[in-house]
Amino acid sequence: MSYGRFLLKRGLQGVVVVWGVVTIVFMLRFITPGSAVDAVAPLDASPELRERIAEELGLDQPLYVQYLDYLWELLQGDMGYSYISGIEASQMVFSKLPATLELAVVSSIIAIGLSIPLGVISATRRHEPADYAATTFSLVGISTPNFWLGIMLILLLSVQFGIFPTSGRAFGFAEAFRILLNQGPGPGANAMWQWLRHITLPAVTLGTYFTALITRLTRSGMLEELGQSYVRATRAKGLPESMVRYKHALRNTLIPVITVLGLQLGTLIGGAVITESVFAWPGLGTTLINAINARDWPILQATLVVIGSGFVIVNLVVDAIYAYLDPQVVAE
């Protein structure tokens, strides 16, 4: 199979998955108790009024008609309108996407920056104190629920010591950068500082599990690679140990790490729901929680479809990179 055909096949699979997500999300409202009309109608609405509401929302149509209408509108980029505010669902969801992506990217950077060195140190100093410290950290990191961690960080670093704000997002990175360019270093540095202060705690909270996971993965990968015969050969050849570790062993370790990184980035986008809620971070997660609380189905659907599609796209990109790095994947 050529690389192009491989990508096409993966792309088509991705489309099927997105369609599956859309369908399941659409059907969710019909398997949850109560009708969408109950979420919109006043409690004391007359039966006639309920019928009118159902008609206005198109809920009086047979299920398959509603489903096909929804699919058709979705294909045209129309995700419907919020039942509560009347704002276009796509506008509402896509305007929140940058905040969530920013959080996911920053937490990934923190995670990668910490986990790979930790994993390498842990593997190369096996059974030494540094290894024990790194493995303990990763065990704790994997076991800690992020909502609890978030609340603890707020209590300690925000409420107790006042180092970071408890919640919110003062500036987006792009906005802070624009201020730096347009208004000079003074206001720019201040905006950047505010951005950093606000994003640090949510990013650390979101990235902790991820850091722990990659640390463990890097450690076990490195240990495996360092035991391989090619490593013995490179050492026999007289290469310096740092070259053996970082140029050869680590490079091979990173292939599975990249796969997990990609998968986890998708999880970060969806999994930020609780972290966003704890930190009142104005992203997709907060939008999703609000939509669930209000039974705002169009927003709920749009958010889940965007998160699901994001997951699929990230996976697709990872597959493409992975196949590029390891041609055997395409051949298989």
């Binding site: 949850t32 108790p33 109560g34 009708s35 109950d38 979420a39 919109v40 109608a41 006043p42 409690l43 004391d44 609405a45 007359s46 039966p47 009024l49 309920r50 009118r52 509401i53 206005e56 929302l57 419907g80 309108y81 919020s82 039942y83 509560i84 505010s85 009347g86 704002i87 276009e88 509402m92 305007s95 929140k96 609340i151 707020i154 209590l155 925000s158 409420v159 006042g162 704000p165 408890t166 919640s167 919110g168 997002r169 809620s277 704890v278 930190f279 009142a280 104005p282 907060t286 939008t287 929680i289 609000n290 609380n293 209000a294 039974r295």
Partner: protein, 551 residues
């Protein structure tokens, strides 16, 4: 929103159906408060004539006929108390956290009136309010939610207003009177200007009212049903006044305009697109919009050209955190000055902190257990009374609600027009309850209380306590069935009493501060949510609705 946004409008027409009281019942929203004019002691006193003492055992039907609307509503409340169609539970409180940098008191109608905030020190000059949700757009006539009201009504004003307890005040109207059945007149205050500099005119007022009640004028406003019965408004020739027309008498019309109906600048609205109106403001209120970031933050500056004295605080910032612990932490770290909905388990953290305290006020919401009059054992008034006697309401309020609730003994809340001040909550008397159960002939019966989960403050715990007390009686077995709110609501609200559970917990918010908006939908035979049918009660409510409130 302009006519041009036709797609938006058609999608949103349904929002116009939302009923006035319901938003509060469903979402815990607030509105206004107060009684009609002419009632110095709202709801107080007996259901008239007042010279007749109540004899033990004397029923409402044996009393002389009332003479006023207030009297009829009070009498209807007495019938409800005696016949006990509900287990009368409690009136919930709105509980806020407040920074010591400011002085402020919570209102009954849940509106956070930033104009009433006074700085207690220099830090109190710039106030941050942290709610559970942000706005759904800034058009004051295009939403139906308390968090949005708390934002937009800092910049917009109504014809009438409410004081903290709910009494009616004059606002943009400096006089108002009933001209005839179905027509009332508001005299429009002179010397008021919008933030854009335009002067307030009667044309602005008439246009604003028509924009709400008439879908042909601008938008299909979701507030149409808040001005229940109002059909339109017109400028009075040669006077600085506006006439508001209603279908029928509309006894609570002034009460409606004290709670609802924000006034907008006609020319500003007409010359701007809907999306612009939803992101900008041109009101007459004490605060002027500075910046708006949808879903994130709204910042106001004090209006120095306000028609009353300018507000005491300089800036007002509205933010939101859906997590209650996040709001509490923001208060404790002095990032917020007022936070909404502090849950009971967080109250001590706020109170123990050096720089914050709790501010609470009775809300407009009553929590009750409806008992269907048409099914066993609840078809027996003795049995329904027995359930009321079986419950230690005082203990529930103290232990389940941490005292942030008031016991109730009638459907109408204290302070409302039509409240009967003579009726006390049923006392806790399990012996009397067991006797009444035997008298009803339903000894040994099993009953199940349906309750929503997480819809109202500690709803499940309240239901469990109620069922527990009833189960403690020797001749009744009671249990709780925890339900999804939407599923429960769809059974109760489908217009068919036979699909409703036999016994269920519900909350009802009534922001008009008038008994009729609770009694009619929930307890009259034709009410959309009714669980009861009683001819005498129906007659009393019907008589009340044929009389004006203000006499």
């Amino acid at each position: 929103m302009s006519d041009k946004d036709s797609a938006d409008v058609s999608r949103r027409k349904f929002l116009g159906f939302a009923g006035a009281a319901t938003a509060t019942a469903v979402a815990g929203c607030g509105g206004g408060g107060g009684t009609e004019t002419g009632t110095d002691e709202p709801g107080g006193g007996t259901d008239e004539p007042t010279d007749e003492p109540t004899e033990p055992g004397e029923t409402a039907t044996e009393r002389p006929e009332p003479e006023t609307r207030d009297g009829y509503l009070q009498r209807a409340n007495r019938v409800a108390h005696e016949q006990a169609p509900w287990v009368f539970l409690n009136r919930q409180y709105s509980v806020y956290g407040k920074s010591d940098d400011i002085e402020w008191q919570a209102r009954a109608d849940e509106f956070i009136d930033a104009y009433a905030i006074t700085p207690a020190n220099d830090d109190g000059d710039d106030v941050v309010i942290n709610q559970s949700q942000m706005d759904s757009g800034l058009d004051p006539q295009d939403h139906r939610a308390t968090p949005t009201d708390n934002i937009v009504m800092q910049a917009y004003e109504k014809l009438l207003d409410r004081d903290r307890e709910g009494g009616i005040l004059e606002s943009l109207a400096d006089d108002y009177s009933r001209q005839e059945n179905g027509r009332v007149r508001f005299h429009i205050r002179d010397g008021v200007s919008f933030h854009s500099g335009d002067n307030l005119t009667p044309e602005d007022v008439a246009y604003s009212i028509n924009r709400i009640v008439d879908p042909e004028v601008g938008i299909a406003s979701p507030q149409q049903d808040q001005l229940a019965g109002v059909t339109g408004a017109e400028v009075v020739d040669g006077e600085r006044a506006v006439d508001v027309m209603s279908s029928g008498l509309n006894p609570i019309v002034f009460s409606l305009f004290a709670s609802y109906g924000p006034i907008m600048n006609k020319s500003w609205v007409q010359s701007n697109e809907g999306s612009y109106i939803n992101q900008n403001m041109d009101g007459t209120g004490p605060f002027v919009l500075e910046t708006y970031e949808q879903g994130v933050e709204v910042v106001f500056n004090r209006n120095d050209n306000y028609w009353k004295e300018a507000a005491e605080i300089s800036t007002l910032t509205m933010r939101a955190s859906s997590e209650s612990s996040t709001r509490v932490n923001s208060l404790l770290s002095e990032e917020s000055d007022i936070i909404v909905n502090v849950p009971p388990q967080e109250v001590s953290r706020v109170e123990q902190n050096d720089s914050s305290s709790i501010a609470a006020a009775p809300s407009t919401r009553v929590i009750f257990n409806a008992m269907r009059y048409d099914v066993e054992p609840f078809d027996s008034a003795e049995f329904r009374q027995a359930v009321n006697y079986a419950i230690d309401l005082e203990s529930i309020v103290e232990n389940v609600l941490s005292t942030f609730g008031d016991q109730t003994g009638q459907p109408t809340l204290d302070g409302y027009f039509g409240y009967n001040g003579d009726l006390d909550p049923y006392p806790y008397d399990p012996d009397q309850a067991e006797t009444l159960v035997e008298e009803s002939g339903y000894g040994g019966v099993e009953v199940e209380l349906h309750t929503p989960v997480g819809r109202y403050l500690n709803d499940v715990q309240i239901a469990q306590a109620v069922a527990g007390y009833l189960d403690d009686l020797e001749n009744v077995t009671a249990s709780v069935n925890q339900r999804d709110f939407q599923a429960l609501a769809s059974e109760v609200t489908d217009g068919d009493i036979e699909t409703s559970p036999h016994w269920y917990l519900l909350g009802w918010g009534n922001t008009t501060f008038d008994a009729s908006q609770t009694l009619i939908p929930l307890l009259t035979s034709d009410g959309n949510l009714t669980s009861w049918s009683n001819e005498e009660f129906d007659r009393l409510v019907s008589e009340a609705q044929s009389l004006p409130s203000e006499e």
